[in-house]
Symmetry: C2
Subunit: 342 residues, 2 copies
């Protein structure tokens, strides 16, 4: 630690004297990842970024192939007790459940009777679609924006848009500064993903095409103002989870990632996609939720040995190979959420 | 014409004297669009590009919103007598039709009996999928590449990759030089679109994500080398034609185009998407096939008044408004295909 400290002082001194422009960027002690503890994961990330960005390195990857795919729920933003897209879908369903005409109709009945969780589990391919059926996409965006700004997380009592993990946003900024092409891949309703992420200035540099989620089937009509999109009561294949993430990487990106970051078994296929890269050096990261004080500690039960259970990475490791690094929320993150306004 | 000529000479003279750097770029007589005749369409395109690129102009569009969507078959590459993706699908079906085990099974039987056209018309949502069912995506890419290089167009007797319209490729280069974000949207099998377009150096600057086609359903398995994709016997919604193009602009791009270029009723929805742009100045172009000597002259029959008939733009105009410019292949293109090798 002391050696590292003096190395930093020395390098910063050099920078101050304007000797060796650009050299400072390659030193982990600059503050590109200041919200990360100086532990092995941070070192591994910085080393990886340096290697693939250095044209003289055997691991060099040209900028146009520097693809990184990052999960959203539980990787960029808090997903407990429910992912934001689920909170949103449930609020729409509960709105509809007030209509007496819908009495006896699933899923509106389920919304009335609080059987939403089983509905979500058993009919995931209908859940986002059913909840917003008939709504215009513009109206959906407005409602999501309102939820992101005015909705309150039940435990943290702050708007959902303030529940992004700051170290992860900082990592994205760092990757973009190093010419990585960042994609966010989420199982959630794509419109929710785009609208929620648009609330963060750190993600403003990413065009909508970089956000890939589960698609709700739409119809389109034309007014004088151009196309108007209406939601139909179902989703399109493939749902962007598990295999769907690998498929959408092919369909929507067409290049295999060299870096993939997730937090659950639903991300295994995305992590495995890196193995299809034609470059020698690739990196896979899984965020471990082990910080009950500042966020959540996901239980690791026997049941969670299924690859699709949240928080479990055992089978993911078997499938992808053991070469996955864990990020510990507790030990690697200096800060988690935005600091409260003064 | 003479006035224009002397204006060019004067401007070129200025450029030669290195007076007013960068000014020359804005003059239509530079050779950015040298394969286009100096007619009204070229003037309109250049004026449009200048206006939206000029920060001091009321029509200015920042580079991140300078989206252009361009159809492929019949707009970038010859589609008669059959689009390349159809030639490819038919060749796969004919291969399969040789297997006695498939006797009596559609569509292999149709391939044997030359009923492919009606199969294609009535079961478009199965056609690409059925033809390659069970094939690995890598194998599909190799076969498409072979067809693009070694297959011969029945009339022009040259490889399919030489049947791109050079003025259109030049226009794409010009748009990219002016920071347009170019997307190719095609009803054809997306893998065919990407693989065929990858054969053209003029399109090499576009990553695979910029090519949006009809998706064939895939399954994925994992080997030691990463994911392996297998084709299933159907396509995914939405087929990327008509409404599907408007939907995929939302799903895959998430920004409305300011410029759209097509050649048929299947492109109407894509042209209409420009009306959803939040910028005041947008442009719509339709390529008219009226050059039987150098390419094809599509018949304009009464039947073609349906908006989905090739070559017809009447109903497209009604739907989109009259504000669509026609490009005449005969009058606007100085050259059509690559010049024959010497």
């Amino acid at each position: 630690m002391t050696g590292n400290f003096w190395r930093c002082v020395w390098v910063l001194g050099l920078l101050f004297l304007q000797v060796g422009t650009g050299y400072g960027r390659q030193i982990p002690c600059d503050d590109s990842l200041s919200l990360w503890q100086n532990r092995s994961v941070k070192t591994a990330i910085v080393a990886f970024v340096q290697h693939v960005s250095d044209p003289d390195d055997a691991a060099y990857v040209p900028p146009e192939d520097r693809i990184v795919t990052i999960d959203m729920d539980g990787t960029l933003v808090c997903e407990r007790p429910s992912p934001v897209a689920m909170v949103f879908a449930e609020s729409l369903l509960k709105e509809l459940a007030e209509a007496p005409q819908l009495q006896g109709r699933l899923p509106y009945d389920a919304a009335r009777q609080d059987r939403l969780k089983s509905l979500r589990k058993n009919h995931f391919e209908l859940f986002f679609g059913m909840s917003g059926a008939g709504l215009e996409e513009d109206a959906v965006r407005q409602k999501v924006r309102a939820l992101a700004r005015q909705g309150r997380h039940p435990r943290f009592e702050r708007p959902y848009r303030e529940l992004f993990y700051r170290p992860m946003l900082q990592l994205i900024t760092y990757l973009m500064q190093n010419d990585f092409i960042v994609y966010v891949l989420s199982g959630s309703d794509q419109t929710v993903v785009r609208t929620l992420c648009a609330e963060r200035p750190e993600l403003a540099g990413l065009p909508p095409a970089r956000f890939i989620g589960t698609l709700v089937a739409l119809d389109v009509d034309y007014g004088t103002q151009g196309p108007v999109f209406y939601r139909l009561a179902r989703e399109l294949e493939p749902v962007n989870l598990r295999k769907g993430k690998a498929l959408n990487i092919l369909y929507r990106i067409g290049q295999q990632p060299i870096l993939a970051i997730g937090n659950s078994g639903g991300d295994c296929d995305m992590l495995a996609a890196t193995l299809g890269s034609r470059y020698p050096s690739t990196l896979r990261l899984l965020l471990r939720h082990d910080d009950d004080a500042r966020e959540y500690a996901y239980p690791t039960t026997k049941k969670s040995s299924s690859p699709d259970r949240k928080g479990d990475t055992g089978l993911c490791r078997t499938r992808v190979g053991s070469d996955i690094l864990s990020i510990s929320m507790k030990d690697d993150f200096r800060q988690i959420f935005d600091l409260p306004a003064q």
